[in-house]
């Protein structure tokens, strides 16, 4: 058996970071980060238990607004469904959530299915406008805003994590390289730096 190691959908991240270390002169307009510790668990409430699940986990039940706690963030996907993200391990997160909601719902691990890109920096909103059809102006949305949308022909789960602004973009793993190709090409006009979190 070969030596065991898991592989990121973007491949060798250290090599990737070296290849894209810094684009553009002066202070970068965009800070790109690849979140390697972003466990994702999809959470479903059973029929009629939507509010119970929301209460048990102290989740925001209304659409388009994330609920954040110390240990995790829940992004509403549809009535009774959330994508819960956390820096802890996916197994632990899933177990913890299932324990809290008991028989009121189900959890399904999605951490391996998604890659999370974080976009920050002074040109973050301009970069988003190159691909995102949604109105992300500060007069419209702020920290906590989340939506499922499409950027560069790829489905994206979008979460605004700060008013700065900064955004987390969750894309399906299979599309991660294509999406990064578009993202890095488009970000180059603003100048960018890249790291992993």
């Amino acid at each position: 058996m070969a030596e065991f190691e898991t592989v990121h959908p973007l491949g060798d991240l250290d090599q990737l970071l070296a290849d894209h270390a810094h684009h553009g002169e002066g202070a970068p307009g965009v800070q790109l980060s690849i979140r390697t510790q972003a466990a994702c668990v999809q959470l479903f409430s059973r029929k009629g238990r939507h509010e119970d699940v929301a209460k048990a986990l102290k989740l925001n039940a209304s659409p388009g607004v994330a609920s954040a706690s110390k240990s995790h963030t829940a992004l509403p996907l549809s009535p009774g469904q959330w994508m819960v993200t956390s820096n802890q391990s996916a197994d632990r997160l899933a177990a913890k959530l299932q324990a809290k909601i008991k028989d009121m719902g189900y959890v399904s691990q999605q951490g391996d299915a998604r890659v999370c890109f974080r976009i920050a920096g002074p040109s973050a909103r301009d970069l988003m406008a190159r691909g995102c059809r949604l109105d992300l102006d500060e007069s419209r949305v702020g920290t906590g805003f989340c939506a499922q949308t499409n950027m560069a022909q790829v489905g994206v789960l979008l979460h605004q994590i700060s008013d700065e602004p900064a955004y987390d973009l969750y894309v399906y793993a299979g599309f991660a390289r294509s999406f990064f190709h578009w993202l890095s090409h488009t970000a180059a006009q603003f100048g960018y730096r890249i790291d992993k979190l």
């Binding site: 058996m1 391996d112 299915a113 059809r133 599309f175 090409h185």
Partner: protein
């Protein structure tokens, strides 16, 4: 000083301290930074800039903007060569290389100018009349001739080295046009607090206002404009985008604009696109896009040096470039006098001003007082000259002739047509206003309003007020009524006197209406005579209003002449309906990033690198890339496929099957839900077991198939075909949300959470046992056929399914994405002592054809379950989607084509998919076709080419018979034997091994 015609006054857009060198038709010139190609050429005394489309007449620029019909040139060279750009819009940069078009051998001497002699035959409808007979000439002769004659310029043949991108913008108020009205609207809306985007096609704001004559708030208009821009720049809620053309106005206030990010540079700066296509979503729109001056229609009005009056003014004021040294201004309205004032201020000699109106207007009196020679009741008759106007023959409006004046420039103004293109795109039909001789927007349909010249308002004060009010109203409509919009500027101006209608100055020569398409006044009369009386028909017949300028300077003249011919008032003729784009947009801008690598996103599996390492050749399966086959050195495609499929049955093979759609299904009613989705029963499926399922569309045809496993009482795991993964999920969402919202069922895609391999062949169990060791017992007893188990492997949850697509002893193993390469490597290493090979989608297909398993080729959306031989799977004990529709007469017709196998007997070296099966190979046509071959392969197991096919009457009628696989493309009709589709191991003994 660069250029013989450069004047020291004016030139607001140029930097006289920065000289720029450029070439036109190989000749070097010098201009200033800020010049356009047209202004720099004019400054250098060059007026001949192109040849007309049909008659190859010499042409100079008519306008100073995007509506230019004449000065159409090729810019740049090599891969960046761009034909049909307007010299009036091309901003000068050092090294700019421009070529004239549509001439041979040179611009000054163009052989095809002989067309002018043939002009009596080249009238409207020439092509339609001439190239009709004989019809056998259409393609081989006429098309070639027309293609050679038609079209302007040459596109680059190399790939465009520049990039283009898309962007999205949102605002409360979108203001289109940064002229006086547009600036005024942006100011009031911005001050009210609304989020404003102001787009301006030109590089600078200010529109048609004249720095020589227009004063706002007591200062020259350009100072007011600069102040307005400063104020707008200081507002965080306002964005101003110049070099940005709003070209499309679509439903729901979605608009499209093209930003020319780098067109003014030799090459784009690093990482910058050449152009950016904006999709703008606006709460309210203020259209302040101005108006287009009309040409006077007189003989030889297309001669270089004969230009629109506003353009002459623009060249002088913006670029300090005088189009001539001795100018005659011919006008029918007051705007001509603004040009005269501007020229006068710049020190250019104004030989005469002719005004079609009999009485001098206040503007005329001012000009006279300034010492200019004004002739009222006089209009042009004919321009004289060869490559440039040298004199203008005048005539009186009473028909008598007047003097001939020597000049090198005629500045003509036949009034202004409000720019109603964008509002027309919203569906608003423009209405005629006789007082201004122009069409103006009718009541808005969308959330938009017009202001300024595009609404027929030409007085400066009124433009300021109207723009201000439009900005206030738009902001208020978006909830910003309480903000302080400030007040509108005030202009000092004389009263404007109405223009005089002058649609054709009497004459017998060529008087052009549409310069770009060489449409003369006579052509319009001819079109009418020949029955093209509708404005839309006349447009198509004469080509009036087509091409890059979209008739901006010509439409109203043409409509008026058609009205005259019809003997009806202009409003009864109406306008054509304008459609996007407002001005040309490069295909590259529409494509944006979506070309080359980014044409479509590529989806890679977790084990892509494993395939690469083994030398896989990849194939696109939708957006996925899948290993198609793994050639050994020196091995051809067919040999590789043959070897792989043979080896799987001999020892074992591993195949990346990660692309199959995977869906996790939870809920108390999940079993019931599956029961309703699939045609077969699911309630009795025990946890730990998998089952093959087939689902129909609502219309009863087969939709998709795959295996679904029960992992727990209320947890199932479905697989779909690669192609239908997203469609099946959407189908389930519809069923769950709309059809049966009462069911407790929840699901999500897990396609990328899990990656998977199939390990098939007699040695599969031994290999997996070695790879996974104690982690899982996969003996036949513990994991029988169609059994499913979850287990932990290196800390991750893994799933193993005892299912087989190949007909061999086979397993599919799923692990989380990040474990994919590790799993592949573990199995690969374990398999090296057991003859394990990697196989791709081609061998996978061979193996399933040998087993008679249907796949994408057979699930083509036209087949029923019974057609595939799976009719007995349809449960009669429960309802399911598609059940009723599948029972329609046509769906259960015994004569339907059903699945059979075919074996190649003779007549060709191979079988081909798509061939039609016929009884008599000499009579192969649609009527004699009995069916068609769907999938073929060179089968190692059968030792010959075999295939699957649908044949009317199926096996019951044709078993053992010989039919012919007619393929007219390859001109072959090999003999095939019809047989059972289950070629190999029909009893399924191997997969139970």
């Amino acid at each position: 000083m660069t250029g013989v015609n450069r004047v020291s006054v004016g030139g607001s857009r140029i930097d006289r301290s920065k000289e720029v060198r450029f070439t036109f038709d190989g000749q070097s010139y010098t201009g200033f930074e800020g010049d356009t190609l047209a202004s720099a050429l004019l400054a250098n005394g060059v007026t001949l800039m192109g040849r007309s489309f049909k008659y190859h007449r010499p042409r100079g620029c008519l306008t100073a903007g995007s509506e230019e019909p004449n000065a159409i040139v090729e810019l740049r060279s090599g891969a960046r060569r761009e034909p049909n750009t307007r010299a009036t819009m091309a901003e000068l940069y050092n090294g700019l290389d421009a070529q004239s078009q549509n001439r041979f051998p040179s611009l000054k001497f163009d052989i095809q100018a002989i067309n002018q002699l043939l002009s009596p035959f080249l009238t409207a409808g020439f092509y339609y009349k001439t190239f009709m007979w004989p019809s056998s000439f259409w393609e081989p002769v006429y098309e070639k001739f027309i293609r050679k004659s038609a079209g302007l310029g040459k596109a680059a043949t190399q790939a465009d080295p520049d990039t283009y991108e898309h962007s999205h913008g949102h605002c409360d108020v979108l203001v289109v046009g940064a002229g006086i009205a547009g600036l005024s609207a942006a100011l009031s809306a911005g001050r009210s607090g609304a989020r404003v985007i102001l787009v301006e096609e030109q590089v600078a704001a200010g529109g048609m206002t004249s720095t020589a004559t227009d004063f706002i708030d007591g200062k020259p208009s350009d100072e007011w404009v600069a102040q307005a821009l400063d104020e707008l720049a200081g507002m965080a809620n306002v964005t101003v985008r110049t070099r940005t053309t709003l070209f499309g106005y679509y439903d729901h206030n979605v608009l499209a604009a093209l930003e020319r990010v780098s067109d003014h540079l030799e090459v784009p700066e690093a990482h910058q696109p050449r152009q950016r296509l904006w999709t703008l979503r606006a709460g309210q729109v203020v259209l302040a896009c101005g108006s287009h001056e009309r040409a006077m229609v007189f003989d030889n009005n297309d001669m270089p040096g004969v230009m629109l009056s506003g353009a002459v003014r623009a060249f002088v004021e913006r670029y300090g470039a005088a189009p001539g040294k001795r100018v005659v201004v011919c006008t029918n309205n007051d705007d001509g006098y603004k040009t005269a004032a501007s020229l006068h201020k710049a020190g250019v000699e104004i030989v005469a001003i002719t005004d079609a109106r009999a009485e001098p207007s206040p503007a005329a009196k001012l000009a006279t007082a300034a010492g200019m020679k004004v002739q009222c009741g006089v209009i042009p008759h004919k321009a004289k000259g060869r490559h440039r106007v040298s004199a203008i023959a005048l005539q009186r409006t009473d028909g008598s002739s007047a003097e001939i004046i020597e000049c090198d420039c005629v500045a003509m103004s036949n009034g202004y047509s409000p720019d109603v293109h964008l509002v027309s795109q919203t569906g608003v039909a423009p209405v005629w206003r006789e007082d201004i001789l122009g069409f103006v927007p009718d009541t808005p349909i969308r959330k938009e309003r017009s202001a300024g010249a595009c609404k027929g308002t030409f007085e400066l004060n009124a433009c300021l007020q109207e723009g201000h009010q439009a900005g206030c109203d738009a902001a208020e409509a978006m909830g910003f009524g309480s903000g302080d919009p400030g007040s509108a500027g005030t202009a000092d101006e004389e009263e404007i006197t109405a223009p005089l209608a002058l649609w054709r100055c009497p004459g017998k020569g060529k008087a052009f209406v549409d310069f770009q398409n060489d449409v003369t006044a006579k052509d319009i009369q001819l079109a009418h005579q020949e029955g093209f009386v509708s404005v839309e028909h006349a447009k198509r017949y004469t080509t009036l209003g087509m091409a890059t300028d979209q008739g901006k300077t010509s439409n109203v003249n043409g409509i008026a002449l058609l009205a005259e011919a019809r003997g009806e008032p202009i409003p009864d003729v109406g306008t054509t309906r304008f459609r996007p784009p407002y001005s040309p947009v490069a295909i590259g801008a529409f494509a944006g990033h979506e070309r080359g690598m980014e044409f479509q996103p590529v989806r890679r599996t977790a084990m892509h690198a494993c395939g690469e390492k083994l030398g896989a050749v990849f194939v696109e399966a939708g957006q996925w890339l899948r290993p198609q086959y793994y050639p050994k050195p020196g091995e051809g495609v067919m040999e590789a496929i043959y070897r792989e499929s043979e080896q799987v049955r001999k020892t074992a093979g591993i195949c990346d099957v990660s692309t199959l759609g995977k869906i996790e299904i939870f809920g108390e009613d999940a079993g019931e839900f599956l029961n309703r989705l699939y045609i077969n029963g699911w309630k009795m499926l025990a946890p730990g077991k998998a089952r093959y399922g087939l689902m129909l569309r609502e219309d009863g045809y087969v939709f998709d198939d795959g295996t679904t496993s029960r992992l727990a009482d209320d947890h199932y795991f479905m697989t779909t075909t690669t192609a239908n993964a997203a469609r099946v999920l959407a189908h389930m969402e519809h069923a769950s949300q709309v059809l049966w919202p009462d069911l407790d069922v929840h699901f999500c895609s897990a396609t990328e959470q899990w990656c998977g391999v199939a390990v098939a062949g007699p040695n599969a169990r031994a290999i997996l046992a070695k790879a996974f060791g104690d982690a899982i017992d996969i003996s036949n007893e513990e994991l029988p056929f169609m059994g499913v188990r979850e287990f932990k492997w290196n800390g991750a949850t893994a799933r193993i399914f005892r299912i087989s697509f190949s007909g061999e002893l086979a397993f599919e193993v799923n692990v989380p994405w990040s474990y994919g390469e590790a799993m592949w490597d573990a199995i690969w290493d374990a398999g090296q002592d057991h003859g394990l090979i990697a196989y791709g989608t081609e061998a996978l297909s061979v193996l399933r054809i040998e087993k008679g398993h249907v796949a994408g080729n057979e699930l083509d959306g036209r087949t029923t379950a019974a057609d595939m031989g799976l009719g007995k799977m349809m449960s009669s004990k429960k309802p399911f989607i598609g059940q009723k529709m599948a029972a329609r007469d046509g769906m259960i017709d015994p004569q339907r084509a059903t699945l059979v196998g075919v074996k190649l007997k003779s007549g060709a070296s191979r079988l081909r998919g798509g061939a039609h099966l016929v009884a008599d190979k000499n009579i192969a046509n649609a009527e004699t076709s009995l069916g068609w071959i769907t999938s073929v392969c060179d089968s190692p197991a059968m030792g010959c080419w075999i295939g699957l096919a649908y044949v009317r009457g199926g096996l019951s009628e044709h078993d053992g018979k010989i039919l012919y696989a007619a393929n007219p493309i390859y001109e072959e009709s090999p003999a095939v034997e019809i047989c059972s589709p289950h070629f190999f191991d029909p009893k399924g003994e191997r997969l139970h091994g």
